[in-house]
C-alpha cells in the first residue's frame, strides 16, 4: 500500500513537470495552430538564461526565473516577427519545416555559446530540502513544481476561456480574416499569445530543469515527449493537457516501476490505446 502511495506521489510530480513544460506548446499548437517543434528550444533558452543568472551572476532563484521568462520572450519577439509570422495559417508541414529549422539553429547557437555540457540552475536552500510525507520523502522542489503546475493551469484556463483576449485569440485562430473584419488586431493578438506561450516554455524549462537538465540537445531530446502529451490531451485544451500529463505521468511511472525493461513498450502502447479510444485527444476542440 505504501508503495502504491509512493508511486502515486512520483506519478503526480512527474505529470506536473510534464504539464508545466509542455503547456505552452498546447497554446501554440491548439490555439494558434502552429506546430511549434521549437517549443523545447525556447524552454532551453529559458534554462540557459536562468542558469547564467543564478549560477554565474549569483542572483536569487526567483529573480533568475523572472529574468529567464522575460529574456526568452525578448529573444522570441524578433523570431516571431521575422519567421513565425510567415507560417501562421500555412500548412502544418511547412510549419514543421520552419520550426525544425529554428530548432537546429538554436541548438547550434547554444552549443557554440554555452558548450555541450550540462547546465544546472542552483535552487534555493528551501527547495533543496527533502520533505517527509510520513511514508516517504520527496524533494521540496517537486512540491514546488506541482504548485506551479496548478497555478499555471488555473491562470491559463482563465486567460483563454474567460477573458476578452482569450475569445479574440480563439476567433483569430478560427478565421483570421473574419476576425480582422470585425476589428480584431490579429497580429497583436498573435504576438501576445506567442509571447505567453514562449514565456510558459521558459518557465517550464527552468522549473523542470531538475528532471530534464539543460544542454544544447534538450530542444530535440524531449520534443517527442512534449508533442505526445499535448496531442494526447487535445491541443488547445488546458484541462485536456492536464489530464493527459497526469495520466501519462502515471502510466510512465507505474510502467517503470512494475516492469522497467518494458517501460517504453508500456508507455507507447498506452498512448496508442488512449488515442484509439479518443481519436481527437482527451479533450480535443471541435474543428
Amino acid at each position: 500500500m505504501q508503495t502504491v502511495f509512493s508511486i502515486g506521489v512520483d506519478a503526480l510530480a512527474y505529470g506536473m513537470v510534464l504539464f508545466v513544460i509542455s503547456i505552452g506548446l498546447s497554446v501554440t499548437m491548439g490555439l494558434m495552430r502552429v506546430v511549434n517543434l521549437a517549443h523545447g528550444a525556447f524552454a532551453m533558452i529559458g534554462g540557459y538564461i536562468a542558469s547564467y543568472a543564478a549560477r554565474d551572476l549569483g542572483l536569487a532563484y526567483a529573480f533568475a526565473v523572472l529574468i529567464a521568462v522575460v529574456g526568452t520572450i525578448l529573444i522570441a519577439i524578433p523570431i516571431e516577427r521575422l519567421l513565425y509570422r510567415r507560417i501562421y495559417g500555412q500548412p502544418e508541414l511547412t510549419q514543421v519545416l520552419m520550426t525544425i529549422g529554428i530548432t537546429f539553429c538554436i541548438i547550434g547557437i547554444a552549443n557554440y555559446i554555452f558548450g555541450p555540457t550540462l547546465k544546472t540552475i542552483p535552487t534555493p536552500e528551501t527547495l533543496r530540502q527533502s520533505v517527509s510525507l510520513g511514508f516517504r520523502t520527496v524533494s521540496a522542489h517537486r512540491l514546488f513544481v506541482i504548485a506551479c503546475g496548478l497555478a499555471v493551469a488555473l491562470g491559463l484556463w482563465y486567460f483563454i476561456e474567460r477573458t476578452a483576449f482569450g475569445v479574440k485569440l480563439r476567433a483569430a485562430v478560427d478565421n483570421a480574416a473574419m476576425a480582422a473584419a470585425l476589428g480584431v488586431k490579429t497580429q497583436v493578438v498573435y504576438a501576445v499569445s506567442f509571447a505567453v506561450a514562449v514565456g510558459l516554455a521558459a518557465f517550464g524549462g527552468v522549473v523542470g530543469a531538475e528532471l530534464l537538465p539543460i544542454e544544447p540537445y534538450y530542444a530535440l531530446r524531449y520534443m517527442v515527449t512534449f508533442l505526445v502529451v499535448v496531442s494526447v490531451g487535445g491541443a488547445g485544451s488546458i484541462p485536456g493537457a492536464l489530464a493527459a500529463c497526469l495520466l501519462l505521468g502515471a502510466i510512465d511511472t507505474a510502467g517503470r516501476y512494475l516492469m522497467p525493461e518494458f517501460g517504453e513498450f508500456f508507455f507507447y502502447l498506452a498512448v496508442i490505446a488512449i488515442v484509439w479510444i479518443f481519436p481527437r485527444g482527451l479533450a480535443g476542440r471541435a474543428k
Partner: protein, 370 residues
C-alpha cells in the same frame, strides 16, 4: 607525403561533447609530437555521426577510404559504428584504431582492429570486488537497456558472484528515462544493500544521481557502485554536491597524478577551449594517435595494414592514464583500472580522486564470451 587519417565520431548532436574530446585528444597529441612522422605529414579528416548509425558509419568509412584515400580509420564512439566498418578493413588494407567503442567483441571482427580505450567489462569488473570487499553482499543492478548496459550488468554480476556476493535483481531501463523515482522505489523495495548502475554519460546520469539522493536512498545507507562513465569529468560540474563521495572504477581520471598526464591535460585543455569539458574519450584518442604514429613509423608511410598492426602488437608506453600495453593477441589495451571517489577540490570544483589501483587489467569480456 601526406598520410590521411579518417576519424569518425559524434561531433554534433547529443554526444557532441564526446566527439569534441576525440578532437581534443588528437590535437593534443599532434601539438606535443608534431604533425609529421619521418617525411610524412599527418592529416586528420573528421566525419560526423551524431548518434549510432552503422549504415552511415559504413558509408562514411567507405567514403574516407575510396574518396579521401585515408590510410587509417580511427575514432568510433559507438560500438555498432565500429562493427559496421570492420568488414571494409581487409579489402581496403586499412587498420582501424578504436578510440572509444567499448564492446569486447569489436576486436574479433577483424585482425586489423586495435583498441586504445577500454571495455565495459574491463571497467565494471573491479568495482564488483570493491563492493564485496567493502562489506556489501546483496546488490541490485540497474543499467540502461542497450549493448554497453547489458555488458556492464554481465561484468558486474560475474565479478560479484565470483567474489561471493548476490545480485538480488537486475533491472534494465529504457535509454529514454527522464524520471528515475520509480526505479529508486524498486531499489528500495529490493532490499539490496547496494546498487550497481550503468548509464551512458550525459544528462541522464544527473537525473539518476539526483533521484538517488532525493528519494532518500543515500540517507538510507544504500551504497552506490558504478563504472566511471557515470562520473565523467565533464558531467561533474552539473552533478556537483550530489555526486560527492560516489565511488567508481575507470581507466582514466583527468586528475591522474603523473607527468605524462599533466602534459596531456595542459595540451588537451588548450585544444578543447574549456578545461571543464575534458573527459575520457580524449585520452583514448590521444593514445590512439600514439598507436597510429607508431604504425606509420613501422611501415615507413607505406599502406600496409598487416604490417602496421603487427608493429604495435605488444607495444607498451606510458600513457596519461598510466602504463599501458597493446595485448598482442586481442589487440586491446591492457591498463590500470582505478577506484576513484568524487571529491571537492580547494577551488570548489569537483574531481575524481584516485584511491586504489588495479594493475594491468586485460579485458575479461573476451574471455567471458569464449
Amino acid at each position: 607525403d601526406t598520410i590521411k587519417v579518417g576519424v569518425v565520431g559524434p561531433f554534433s548532436g547529443p554526444f557532441a561533447l564526446q566527439g569534441k574530446n576525440f578532437k581534443a585528444g588528437i590535437d593534443a597529441y599532434m601539438a606535443l609530437n608534431g604533425s609529421t612522422v619521418g617525411d610524412d605529414t599527418i592529416e586528420i579528416i573528421y566525419r560526423d555521426i551524431p548518434t549510432a548509425d552503422p549504415a552511415q558509419s559504413k558509408a562514411l568509412s567507405q567514403e574516407l577510404v575510396v574518396k579521401e584515400g585515408v590510410q587509417y580509420l580511427a575514432g568510433f564512439y559507438f560500438t555498432p559504428d565500429a562493427m559496421a566498418a570492420t568488414p571494409l578493413l581487409e579489402q581496403a588494407n586499412v587498420p582501424m584504431v578504436v578510440m572509444n567503442a567499448a564492446t569486447s567483441a569489436i576486436v574479433t571482427k577483424s585482425p586489423f582492429v586495435v583498441r586504445t580505450s577500454f571495455t565495459t567489462w574491463q571497467t565494471s569488473t573491479p568495482i564488483a570486488k570493491v563492493a564485496f570487499d567493502g562489506g556489501t553482499k546483496k546488490v541490485i543492478s540497474v543499467v540502461s537497456d542497450y549493448g554497453p548496459g547489458v555488458d556492464a550488468e554481465a561484468a558486474f554480476k560475474a565479478g560479484f558472484e565470483k567474489a561471493g556476493g548476490a545480485v538480488v535483481e537486475a533491472i534494465r531501463m529504457p535509454l529514454q528515462t527522464n524520471d528515475f523515482s520509480p526505479i529508486m522505489q524498486r531499489i528500495k523495495d529490493s532490499g539490496a544493500e547496494g546498487v550497481f548502475a550503468f548509464l551512458p554519460s550525459g544528462p541522464t546520469t544527473l537525473g539518476f544521481v539526483k533521484a538517488f539522493n532525493e528519494n532518500g536512498l543515500k540517507d538510507a545507507g544504500i551504497k552506490f557502485f558504478a563504472p566511471g562513465d557515470l562520473t565523467q569529468e565533464s558531467d561533474l560540474p552539473a552533478l556537483g554536491e550530489a555526486a560527492l563521495g560516489l565511488q567508481t572504477t575507470f581507466h582514466y581520471a583527468v586528475s591522474h597524478d603523473s607527468a605524462e598526464n599533466k602534459k596531456f591535460v595542459e595540451a588537451a585543455a588548450k585544444a578543447i577551449g574549456n578545461p571543464a569539458e575534458l573527459s575520457f574519450p580524449a585520452v583514448g584518442a590521444y593514445d590512439g594517435m600514439h598507436v597510429i604514429y607508431k604504425m606509420i613509423e613501422a611501415t615507413g608511410g607505406e599502406q600496409d595494414a598487416a604490417k602496421a598492426v603487427d608493429a604495435v602488437k605488444g607495444l607498451s608506453w606510458e600513457s596519461p592514464r598510466g602504463p599501458v600495453t597493446i595485448d598482442p593477441e586481442s589487440r586491446h589495451i591492457t591498463q590500470n583500472i582505478y577506484l576513484r571517489e568524487v571529491a571537492k577540490a580547494e577551488d570548489g570544483t569537483y574531481y575524481n580522486k584516485e584511491i586504489q589501483t588495479f594493475e594491468k587489467q586485460g579485458d575479461p569480456g573476451l574471455a567471458a564470451a569464449k
